[in-house]
């Protein structure tokens, strides 16, 4: 979480300094939920369809930080080699598919990865997770994928971070049911709801959902309630978020809550936390510096080939 | 009695045929409307064929176990006219044609597509989808050369002039590649030889010149004075040199007629450099003498004779090639009386002179015909730059100058 928050703050400031190619999307406020799911999953064993505000989860899952800095800073060595950017990155063959912008579209991809493993006889003990927000839950893709995953009884955990806003759209313009977790009933799957600002609660609920799925309990929908503590992207000042919401318990910063919880429970001391922050800052700085020194993609050196099949690649 | 067929129905998307599984009726049976009379099987399912109306089975035309295409007449029913009308079925062999008007129902709900008052519209004739495939503007006609045609002509080194003999069979009379190939095949059956480079050079030059609207005018010129004067000189200058000198002087007085048109710009003569047409083997060369307006006959003569000789040897010096503003040609030396010479493509004017001939010419003074040696002086000009009047003035001035040869 610390790493994620540190990295993203750095990215935000780089954006404001004009160093970033394209947009920056960060997830302050969501780190608790994201890190919870990321830490329940094992790299190159489980599957994690991370989305926009999952830096916490990505880090916990095992995505190298250089992937983030290289993607954002436009290095040729990034996972997409400049062909895609910001959070559209992943390691598909190691369980981290690379998202596309259309929200809800990645759930069926994760479902398909699980589906394939079942046919291949290597689904035992595997869980696939997909992140969505309140906005994505309105899409047809979301609906089709949830239903299909339920029909196919796949070990899929959908982490729905309801951060109260889809860009500028508040939840009363997004859905009419009591809580998004009620949709689980409609799909015939298990639903869980948790206070997303509370790290310990999130860890408990998310790991239960993951275990249930791993143990054959079918798809799980985890709805975590929190508040987005940034704009939709760094180009957005989120002035539409009402003060009352910001000042409510929903608006608590999960980082602060987590620190308090971990200190109170005796898991960490203040100096240890400070040390973590310092280490994170150094790690971020190194990753940023390295990425900045690397070359940008060269249009004359890119092969501009879109096909994987060698016989087609030759012709194009 | 009217007949109604039992048809193999369209039993699903892309089904082309079905197999008869069972005939549930035999000839002579009475049936009612919508009765399942024949069981058929397709690739997808087993279904029943039903009757359109009640009647008697007159004939069954199919066998069990055999496949028939969609639309096949499987059997025939004999139906009464009342039954046919009741069910609205089209029966063949009715004894009287029944009235089949559609009475528009005033109370009927509004149709989705508006129809005019008073009933069903006459259906519009459906036209096939080739409308609009007319020949694009100007891609036809004798002058049109398609890209393929031009490419083929380039390959063969042909120009439009070369294919003028071909009658086009294409749209509007255009010459198609097929026409060209046939023509060339035809021509190749005749013996032929390679044209010399000189010949090709003249051909190209004349072809390019001809793209302009050229006109010729002429007048006779009395040569007595000129011939007498010439005889008095030693050595005797050739006749052409007087023409050359007169032309230079006349043009210097009237330079507009030697202007050269490009687009909307007229380029006036830079200097009165005039060329002389020299017949050489298989072609013509035109060496150019410079600033003819400023040099006398005597000053011009040596160079003139030298250049003509060199031209015949094909050794015209660099400084005498090109850059002229007009040309002189003496075809009289060949015995020709008159002609319509073609100017060089880079020039607006060419002056030609025919052979001198003794003719009877009316003399007003003497009141009778007197013998006069005359030659026809011809001027061909680019009519975009010069008109008949200007040409006439030039020729008349030339005549004046030639009557006083000692001043040239």
């Amino acid at each position: 979480m610390v790493t994620a928050r540190t990295l993203e703050s750095k990215l935000a400031s780089l954006y404001k300094a004009g160093k970033i190619v394209g947009g920056v999307y960060i997830g302050p406020g969501q780190e608790a939920v994201s890190a919870s799911i990321g830490s329940c999953l094992t790299w190159d064993h489980d599957i994690f369809g991370a989305l926009i505000r999952d830096q916490g989860g990505r880090t916990a899952f095992g995505e190298p930080m250089l992937d983030a800095t290289r993607s954002y800073l436009g290095s040729i060595n990034g996972p997409s080699r400049g062909r895609d950017g910001n959070i559209h990155r992943g390691h598909p063959t190691e369980g981290l598919p690379a998202m596309i912008s259309h929200l809800g579209a990645m759930i069926s991809v994760v479902a398909g990865m699980l589906f394939a493993r079942r046919i291949q006889g290597r689904l035992d003990g595997v869980v696939g997770a997909a992140s969505v927000g309140d906005g994505a839950s309105s899409t047809g893709s979301f609906h089709e994928a949830m239903n299909l995953a339920a029909v196919e009884n796949l070990p899929l955990v959908v982490i729905l971070a309801n951060n109260q806003f889809a860009y500028s759209t508040p939840t009363d313009r997004q859905f009419a049911c009591r809580s998004l977790v009620d949709r689980a009933i409609g799909y015939g799957i298990a639903g869980h709801e948790v206070d997303g600002t509370d790290l310990l609660a999130s860890l408990e609920v998310v790991s239960k959902a993951v275990n249930d799925a791993r143990g054959g309990g079918g798809p799980q929908l985890v709805v975590a309630n929190l508040l987005r503590l940034s704009g939709h992207g760094e180009h957005d000042d989120a002035s539409y978020v009402p003060e009352t919401l910001k000042n409510s318990s929903l608006g608590r910063d999960c980082m602060a809550v987590a620190e308090q919880q971990l200190l109170a429970a005796g898991f960490l001391t203040e100096p240890e936390i400070e040390e973590w922050k310092t280490e994170a800052a150094e790690e971020v700085q190194t990753a940023v510096a390295l990425a900045q020194q690397e070359a940008a993609p060269d249009p004359f050196a890119d092969d501009w080939i879109v096909y994987a099949s060698p016989e087609l690649a030759e012709e194009s | 009695m009217p007949e109604v067929p039992i048809l193999m129905p369209q039993l699903g998307e892309s089904i082309a045929e079905a197999t008869i599984i069972r005939l549930n009726v035999t000839v002579g049976d009475e049936v009612v409307a919508d009765q399942e009379v024949i069981e058929v099987e397709t690739n997808k399912a087993t279904m029943d064929v039903t009757t359109l109306c009640g009647g008697t089975v007159r004939e069954l035309l199919v066998e069990e176990g055999v496949s028939y295409p969609i639309g096949t007449v499987l059997g025939l029913l004999e139906v009464t006219e009342e039954e046919a009308i009741r069910t609205g079925v089209q029966a063949t062999g009715t004894t009287e044609s029944s009235e089949t008007t559609c009475e528009p129902d005033e109370e009927a709900p509004r149709a989705h597509f508006a129809t005019p008052e008073g009933g069903a519209r006459e259906p519009r004739k459906v036209e096939p989808s080739i409308r609009g495939l007319s020949v694009p503007a100007s891609m036809k006609g004798a002058h049109y050369l398609s890209p393929r045609m031009k490419a083929r002509m380039d390959e063969l080194g042909l120009r439009a002039a070369d294919i003028s003999a071909i009658v086009g069979s294409g749209s509007g009379g255009r010459v198609t590649v097929e026409d060209l190939e046939q023509f060339l095949a035809y021509v190749s059956t005749w013996p032929c030889g390679q044209a010399s480079p000189m010949r090709l050079s003249v051909a190209d030059s004349m072809r390019r010149s001809w793209t302009r609207p050229l006109a010729s005018v002429g007048r006779p010129v009395a040569l007595e004075n000129l011939l007498d004067y010439r005889r008095s000189l030693d050595p005797k200058p050739p006749l052409t040199i007087f023409l050359l000198r007169a032309f230079g002087k006349a043009l210097a007085e009237q330079p507009a007629s030697a202007g050269y048109l490009i687009g909307e710009q007229i380029i006036p003569p830079r200097a009165f450099d005039i060329g002389v047409a020299v017949q050489v083997e298989d072609g013509v060369l035109v060496p150019v003498l410079r600033r003819v307006d400023t040099r006398t006959i005597a000053e011009l003569m040596e160079e003139y004779l030298d250049l003509v000789r060199k031209a015949r040897e094909r050794r015209v010096p660099e400084e005498n090639i090109g850059g002229g503003i007009a040309t002189v040609t003496n075809f009289g030396t060949f015995g020709l009386m008159w002609g319509t010479p073609i100017p060089l493509p880079s020039e607006t004017l060419i002056l030609g002179i025919g052979a001198g001939v003794k003719k009877p010419v009316w003399s007003q003074e003497k009141g009778s015909f007197i013998p006069v040696t005359e030659a026809d002086l011809m001027l061909t000009f680019d009519h975009r730059v010069v008109d008949g009047g200007g040409a006439g003035m030039l020729l008349n001035r030339l005549n004046e100058l030639l009557q006083e040869p000692e001043n040239l």
């Binding site: 997409s80 759930i107 047809g140 | 096939p128 989808s129």
Partner: protein, 324 residues
């Protein structure tokens, strides 16, 4: 041996694919024991129970599932019940599948079968030809087999390719088109190559899918009038075999591109554009296109017949081209 239909060939190809390669599975509505709406998978679930699976009506999720499965090394065949319904999964096809290799370096070898084209009475939503729409997007392969042998071999090749393939099978040809042979190994061509199905010298008619047969009929009609019309079967729309088309126009000098497709842009426009661009000097007449009308496909057979190119309209277009 009996006659083999176009749909038999598709079924046989899927059978052979399932039998030879554990990575292949078929996912689509009604493909299981029902055998598919057109019976393209009849009997296959009995033979391969784990790999022929009925899906819910969720074209978006079906394609997403296919991409996910492909990432994990499978070779999915997704049967769309009608090409027309693939538009529900359009995003997943063009943005997920089509961009995957380009963006991540990981191939997405999925094959999507699209029952395409009109039959009498099929109406606006069971008749569409989608090849132009998908060819537009980079990263996709679009094939349009017109013969029984191609229906077999091109489906095998499609699944073998490492890229997403839209396999546009024509519904009218399913049972109407028959051959005495399933495979024609002597004449087998790879995806990406067109075939000259009728040699000629007066004009080139370039067509694909069911229109190849209409074009051949038109060519035969014109042969009676003394014209030798060359017919080219594109076989795959993307990649489009420009070389073969241009070589044909080099022989004939005249081009008519025919498609059972809406007229704006699309395959016929692409053909004319390429020939004009690369082979302008070969054209003795302006290149022509013939498509369906710019309206949704009508339902009534009378209207339907006047909507798409037919023997009559193709012949008329060729005759017009010949006298230009």
């Amino acid at each position: 041996m009996g006659e083999v239909t176009y749909i038999d060939a598709i079924r046989e190809a899927q059978h052979d694919l399932l039998a030879a390669d554990d990575r292949v599975f078929i996912y689509g509505q009604d493909v299981g024991h029902f055998g598919g709406a057109f019976k393209a998978t009849r009997g296959l679930k009995d033979l391969f129970p784990e790999r022929v699976i009925d899906s819910p009506i969720s074209e978006d999720a079906m394609i997403g599932l296919a991409v996910g499965a492909a990432i994990e090394g499978m070779r999915p065949i997704i049967e769309m019940q009608f090409a027309d319904f693939s538009s529900v999964g359009f995003n997943q096809i063009v943005n997920q599948a089509g961009t995957h290799f380009y963006r991540t370096g990981v191939p997405a070898p999925i094959t999507i079968r699209l029952p395409s084209g009109g039959t009498p009475g099929s109406g606006p939503f069971h008749s569409q030809m989608m090849e132009s729409v998908y060819a537009y997007y980079p990263g996709l392969v679009v094939v349009t087999p017109a013969t029984v042998a191609d229906a077999y071999s091109m489906l095998i090749d499609a699944v073998a390719l490492d890229d997403p393939v839209l396999f546009c099978e024509h519904k009218f040809l399913y049972r109407w088109l028959k051959s005495d042979r399933l495979k024609d190994d002597d004449e087998r061509l790879p995806i990406g190559q067109a075939r000259i199905v009728r040699a000629g010298k007066h004009a080139s008619v370039v067509a694909y899918s069911a229109m190849v047969h209409e074009a051949l009929r038109a060519a035969e009609l014109l042969a009676e009038e003394g014209w030798e019309i060359e017919v080219v079967d594109l076989r795959s729309v993307k990649p489009l075999d420009t070389d073969t088309v241009i070589a044909s126009v080099a022989r004939t000098g005249r081009l008519l591109a025919v498609g059972e497709a809406f007229p704006w842009g699309g395959v016929t426009a692409e053909i004319v554009s390429r020939v004009t661009n690369d082979g302008f000097h070969l054209l003795d007449a302006p290149p022509q296109r013939l498509n369906s009308r710019d309206t949704p496909v009508p339902y009534h057979p009378n209207l339907w017949e006047a909507h798409r190119p037919t023997l009559e309209s193709i012949s008329a277009a060729i005759r017009n081209l010949l006298q230009l």
